[in-house]
Symmetry: C2
Subunit: 904 residues, 2 copies
């Protein structure tokens, strides 16, 4: 016979799968000898059987009968007794708490007869009838699905009739009438009378809990949170204790430390003469826990002792619910408490110092998302603000500046010392200079991985995108949101963590954690108050511990010397991706135009000659900043037309010029070139290695510039460690061909400069075919670097720029994604390709170095996956380097703790 019922004396916290979270913790507290009202738990197994069979398992009824008998014997009271009835609550309690499930029915066991018994036992007739009234409405709503509003209405009517405003002022008679009203409501709306048999009440409530597992809302929630559908929920039957039996009674919630700041010392709310639901309803103001010491010092002291006990036992911040019944304390629930980012860090190191946990555990208790939150400045929460509009929070931070509507103005105003917010409908590489100059970026179109969002995150610039209510008019240099107008020069404040846009100047509080990361502990502690100092030291200790335990190296994506230097300060151990295309913007764009228009090898070569010293200097600067650390340089990747004017705009210009009789020859030639290079799907076109193989000399130029830069660094006493990376490889043949073409250039340059240069040549794995044929590709690659952005695009068949606006929001709503696969790696699809590629690549070349250089390299959840498949390093934008270091450490810890799952 399967055991479906466990007394609270029979289990413990290790039984959460079987007893649910609430049941397991009630059992644990019982085991600790804490004052838990007696009761028992019906297991998740019983629920699963119910879901399978459509009815409760046969054995359950008899097991519940036996458990009830034990309870009645222990307490000396009986369910439904007309003198001193036993009352119980029926509470759901799954492994994970989730919305949409039936919560609680209190006061089960009351009926037309036992209500008198309760009055007699408590000496409080009004209380007894009020309890009965509450049972009928709760039971009606949650078990019989009567619409809650009708009970509310009846209650309001009763109050109006009696001329009172608060429930507690209703007289006993009035409550008795209300009970009759409620019973009629139940009958009318559910078609059945309120069950007078207490056992039937209990059984129906149990079935209602089981059934609520499958409500649409619960199903949707599980689907989104990837909680398995077959876990089932447990049901807890708990002896009722009452916090509403007078001034010596009360109810409260408490935390063993302050969950907002992490400050040591208990923290909570207490409400005299009240039941739990009254606290939630917020009818009266609660007292603080400190005030409870005056109200009920005995219960307070006992509570403090229990809380210390719990914290020592659970070795973490605990969140508890309790009731005081006529001076006696009862523990109704405990669980590990939620906390803010700052609290998480502080509590973790506090517990280490209290010898409750190890540094490994402290590291496991915080996460990258929390660190991210700590890294961004925020608006002072006490300052007033005027809303303009709201968009998608694309890159966090708090930015204040004057509105500008084009890149040139942004650069110009910043040059004269202004802070600016760049407002565009959407951005493109032409806006880059302005984006770099701006303190904040605001667009009316695009999703969280639009150009603006990606670039801003890469630079750590505050950014809000897709503020669709904003009508941006770049020609008139203004934007409108409803009746509000922002003109050029108006001051705006962007909250990149919430997506809110405010008119005017909202004061900003800087992040001490960033000060620490960029300038060190001393600098950060210089003017810090005590709490801030503790936080910063906590971050420092945990981050250094993460560095000491992690296997994953952390590099950065950086294209310039300054970016590289900053990333190095933040802990980057090299560059995983230098995108050379950013070196062809600005003035150099003209060179690409000339390259495209070139009609002979000579013309092309003359462009290359001009490019060579420019490119060489780019690389010298980069290698100097990352001296003695690996620097992976990707050869040119994007299609050439990205450097040319927009086709439609150019076509309009040419047509208008013709119409006006003022044709421009260069525009006509350029249009011809643009038309020639036009691609319906540039993402799938002539780019990456294809361009390198088809356009003679381009890759050779880049490799020569890289090799000469390395030679110069070596000559100057530096230690350049360059790795050359070929983008968009689909077939090993492409890689062979590039190696054939450029392989000897490095040797040639080394000989000419009299230095020794070793430059591994590796490949991006960013196309499904590269992953699938990795066994072959590894024959010609010294390393693999997973370009997870492009790999996501081709695996899913959607382009980052196009689809987010179009349908991502709906897909998130419908539960196809829980998070954009551009933000957090799609482990089932894209991850499967990475697994395949890693295994196949290493089958050919066991020592093959594997890196990740897509956006996901800085995403906490993705980092755990990369660790699990044996990736050697991740590469992310400079500001995500500390987060990656932290999560890489956590991944190492969590994967070594058997049975522990990543909580990232």
């Amino acid at each position: 016979m399967t055991k479906y019922v466990y007394d609270f004396t029979e289990g413990g916290r290790e039984d959460a799968d079987l007893l649910g979270g609430k049941g397991a913790n009630l059992a644990e507290m019982t085991r600790l000898g804490l004052p838990v009202p007696p009761g028992f738990t019906i297991t998740t197994e019983a629920c699963k059987e119910f879901l399978r069979q459509g009815h409760v398992p046969d054995d359950l009824r008899v097991q519940v009968t036996m458990a009830l008998r034990r309870l009645e014997d222990e307490l000396g009271r009986r369910l439904g007794d007309v003198n001193d009835p036993l009352l119980v609550s029926v509470r759901s309690g799954a492994r994970f708490s989730m919305p949409g499930m039936m919560e609680t029915v209190l006061n089960v066991g009351l009926n037309d007869y036992s209500v008198a018994g309760l009055a007699k036992a408590t000496g409080d007739e009004r209380f007894a009838w009020d309890s009965y009234r509450r049972l009928i409405s709760m039971f009606g709503r949650t078990v019989l699905h009567v619409e809650g509003g009708v009970f509310e209405e009846a209650l309001e009517e009763a109050k109006a009739t009696q001329g009172v405003t608060v429930d507690s002022e209703l007289s006993t008679e009035s409550l008795q009438e209300l009970v009759e009203r409620y019973k009629k409501i139940v009958l009318d709306h559910s078609g059945r009378g309120f069950p007078q048999d207490p056992r039937e009440q209990l059984d129906l409530a149990t079935v209602a809990v089981f059934s609520s597992w499958n409500t649409p809302r619960a199903n949707l929630y599980r689907r989104r949170e990837r909680i398995p559908h077959d876990l089932g929920t447990a049901v807890n039957i708990v002896t009722m204790v009452f916090g509403n039996l007078g001034k010596d009674s009360g109810t409260g919630v408490a935390f063993t430390r302050d969950p907002a700041t992490g400050k040591v010392g208990s923290y909570g709310d207490y409400l005299v003469n009240a039941q739990g639901e009254d606290v939630v309803a917020g009818i009266r103001n609660t007292s603080t826990l400190a005030e409870m010491a005056d109200i009920d010092p005995g219960a307070y002291d006992e509570l403090q002792t229990i809380m210390r006990r719990l914290e020592t036992h659970y070795r973490d911040l605990c969140d508890i619910e309790f009731t005081v019944e006529r001076g006696r304390l009862w523990m109704l629930q405990t669980r590990i408490g939620k906390r803010t980012a700052a609290a998480a860090f502080r509590i973790a190191t506090q517990l280490v110092d209290e010898h409750l946990i190890t540094m490994d555990e402290a590291l496991a208790r915080v996460n990258g998302e929390q660190l991210t939150k700590l890294m961004f400045p925020q608006f002072d929460p006490r300052s007033p603000r005027e809303d303009l509009t709201v968009g998608l929070a694309a890159s966090p931070g708090a930015a204040v500046g004057r509105a500008v509507f084009d890149s040139a103005t942004a650069t110009e105003w910043v040059a004269r010392g202004e802070s600016v917010i760049l407002i565009r409908r959407e951005t493109n590489p032409d806006d880059l200079e302005g984006m770099i100059a701006a303190d904040g970026i605001l667009t009316s179109r695009g999703g969280k991985t639009s150009h603006a969002a990606v670039v801003a995150r890469g630079m750590g610039t505050t950014c809000i995108v897709g503020a669709e209510a904003l009508d941006v008019d770049p020609v008139a240099r203004r934007a409108r949101a409803g009746s509000l107008i922002v003109a050029e020069g108006d001051t705006l404040s962007l909250d990149g963590s919430t997506g809110q846009v405010f008119l005017g100047d909202v004061p900003v509080v800087p992040s001490p954690v960033v000060t620490y990361l960029e300038f060190g502990l001393t600098e950060a502690l210089a003017n810090a108050d005590e709490e801030t100092a503790e936080l910063v030291m906590s971050v420092d200790r945990i981050l250094r511990h993460a560095d000491s335990v992690r296997n994953l190296r952390v590099r950065t994506n950086a294209d310039t010397g300054p970016d590289a230097s900053r990333a190095r300060t933040l802990g980057a151990e090299g560059i995983g991706l230098c995108r050379t295309e950013h070196m062809f913007l600005g003035d150099r764009r003209m060179l690409i135009e000339r390259l495209v228009l070139a009609e002979s090898a000579e013309e092309r070569d003359s462009v290359y000659e001009e490019l060579l010293p420019l490119q060489r200097n780019d690389f010298v600067e980069l290698l100097a900043a990352m001296d003695d650390l690996p620097v992976t340089i990707r050869l040119l990747d994007p299609p050439l037309h990205e450097f040319l004017p927009d086709r439609a705009d150019l076509k309009v210009r040419v047509a208008l010029a013709a119409e006006r009789g003022t044709p421009n020859e260069r525009d006509v030639a350029l249009l011809a070139a643009v038309e020639r290079l036009h691609e319906a799907n540039p993402m799938l076109g002539l780019r990456g290695v294809r361009l390198g193989l088809v356009l003679p000399g381009l890759y050779a130029l880049q490799v020569r510039a890289i090799a000469e830069a390395a030679a110069r660094r070596a000559t100057d006493g530096g230690t350049p460690r360059v790795e050359i990376m070929i983008p968009l490889i689909a077939s090993v043949m492409e890689l062979h061909l590039v190696r054939d073409e450029v392989g000897h250039i490095v040797d040639e340059v080394a000989t000419a400069h009299g230095v020794s240069l070793t430059m591994p040549i590796g490949t991006m794995i960013e196309l499904p075919r590269a992953a699938l044929t990795a066994r072959r590709i590894a024959e010609a690659a010294d390393f693999f670097s997973f370009g997870t952005n492009d790999l996501t695009q081709t695996t899913w068949g959607f382009s980052r720029d196009d689809v987010e606006g179009a349908f991502f929001a709906q897909y998130l709503d419908k539960g196809v994604f829980t998070v954009s696969p551009f933000e957090s790696l799609d482990i089932d699809g894209v991850g499967e390709l990475i697994r395949i590629a890693a295994a196949k690549g290493r089958a050919t070349r066991p020592e093959l170095k594997l890196g990740v250089c897509g956006e996901h390299g800085g995403d906490p959840e993705s980092i755990h996956f990369f660790h699990s498949v044996g990736i050697d390093y991740v590469s992310c934008s400079p500001f995500r380097v500390p987060i990656a270091r932290l999560e890489a450490g956590r991944a190492a810890i969590l994967s070594s703790l058997t049975g522990h799952q990543s909580t990232a």
Copy 2:
């Protein structure tokens, strides 16, 4: 000790891996007792050892010595003998013949002394010196890598000095001088003297053959043909026989049947008093084999006997080389002969009728490529023609018609009875009507899988694309190629099998095979000559046999009733892909515009109301044509802007109208919609199921139209068997959502019409993620249909429309592809995903039906792969249905013949 040397008496044709093709067949003929000059073969194993170690294996020398001794003993002659020397040829012979490898050195064994012995033994001093001269030049060229031209020069000088024009007129003295000259050339150019030691000659020639395995040309060839690099080549040492010892000597090549037509009876060329190289050099006109009967009746009769023997033994057409030395016949080589498509079919059934092979074998001996060739009409080869230009042969056939430059003119002229050739720079869906009307399509841009090419192949219309020399001016309605101009109305002839474009009317010969396929055997035989009749009957027998043995069903891609009917005639067993987007072109395009511009649900619904009866009729027609066969209808797939005007053109139109002060409100509204729907990469954008989920009501409309059409057919006594297919699924959630939305519509319609409707809902597998997560997707799919076009695009990361022009040609040149992966499935990459998806899908649902509806469904090589992974059916354009039937049969036969590989 490894045996590296096999006497011809020791092996057979089964040893081709070890002895190479030539060696194995020489051994086989020896085993048959045919007159093969004695000799032996050095194995491919010896070559492999040589390639591994860098020198010949130690044992080889002694084994060759022993084999030579046996040879000398058998013949009573010795290598280098000054009286009657043994001479041998050294010939390479790999498993597969390949270019770039060293071919043959004849007369090995001659030196300054044995040349006299040869003169003595043959009684022909001039012959001896000529043989010596030939040895030195051949040896110098192929073994010592002396540039061949220098020997030629010396020979020309000698002829000039002696005042003769032909080699054979050179005197003995002159040849003796030439030998000295040649020896000096060898010394000067190679740095070593011509080796006088016959054994050294032989050993060096052997090493030269081994080394030639790794020439760049051979490497490139193997890479392209996917021949493993480690097979190695064998070396054959064959006693010399001479066809140039007088009028009773000669040499020839022959086929056991006519390889051009398949006609029964031997066929070949004979050259009196000549060696093999003379036949190749074409110095004198050869005689036919029939004429040989008069020249040397004895040898001729013996040859005929041997050829019959060989054909019976090899059970196939044999291709042989032979020499007659002073009346005695020697067989120098045999192999299975190449043949034309018509010959392949005729010979296959002839051999069945001669009881040499079974029908299974006959089926294995022909292939789909041959059948394709037989299905297209061709230009009469005897007619004169004037070249205009040449492009890529995109869709075979021979088309003659008058040039038109736009779709409307094409339709109009065809309506009045003209045949037209539609000439465009490139085509798009707007050109469809004209493309359907035209007899041939010619574009100056685009590759073999451009829109024009794909649509043309689908319709079986002759098409040439990418004729880049052609400058098309659609406005002036003319095209220019160099100095030649084609004006509207000029007659052109397109050869879709070669890509040639001719000016004027070239007479066309229709295909009797198509007449048979479309109208049956009786019709095809009505006016056929004997050869044609035999061919048609052969095709009929083999195709019917293929149908009886194949496991793969063959469906067709068809969107209209007439297409479906035609495909059914050609043997289609259902529709695997009906693309509903083709039903929204033409007049209905306006409805899509209205849908896009709709601002309310009501406006959208009114569009749907108009669409419903139109769509329903489309489907009724289709289901009637395919009654009682499965019809898979794909819901709308392409992005909506494909139905709207081009963005750049519209932008120009609006700008010009504004400039002229004549703005058009509808254009402005349309431009706004086009801008809103604009996507940088539409292939990766809002299309397929994404559109279905995001645009309310669209899929519901289509499903309703399908269900109502099926209900109507059922009511009318038909047997509709509809399958609904959802495009572009990446996640099982998408499929669940569609099923949730449209699932009940079928039931609703069935109830309303009082019929029973069963409509499986399945999915395209056309994104890597769908393949990788097929285990989950199979939970919600009644069938999978692989969309191999899109799967190829996303797996490789290139779009069909864009990349072919841009770099495919170079990629083919460079050997990255051997064939476009859009033509023949990329088995290593895309195929791997199909394997994964098939396995995972069937793990969830073992009875899951798997189909293929991409272009590859009609490609021979791909079909064998589909068979091998357990696909249930392929679907292809109507005209490829017979080819798919044939190849599906071959796949069944070939995969069941152990050790036989597909020769598709």
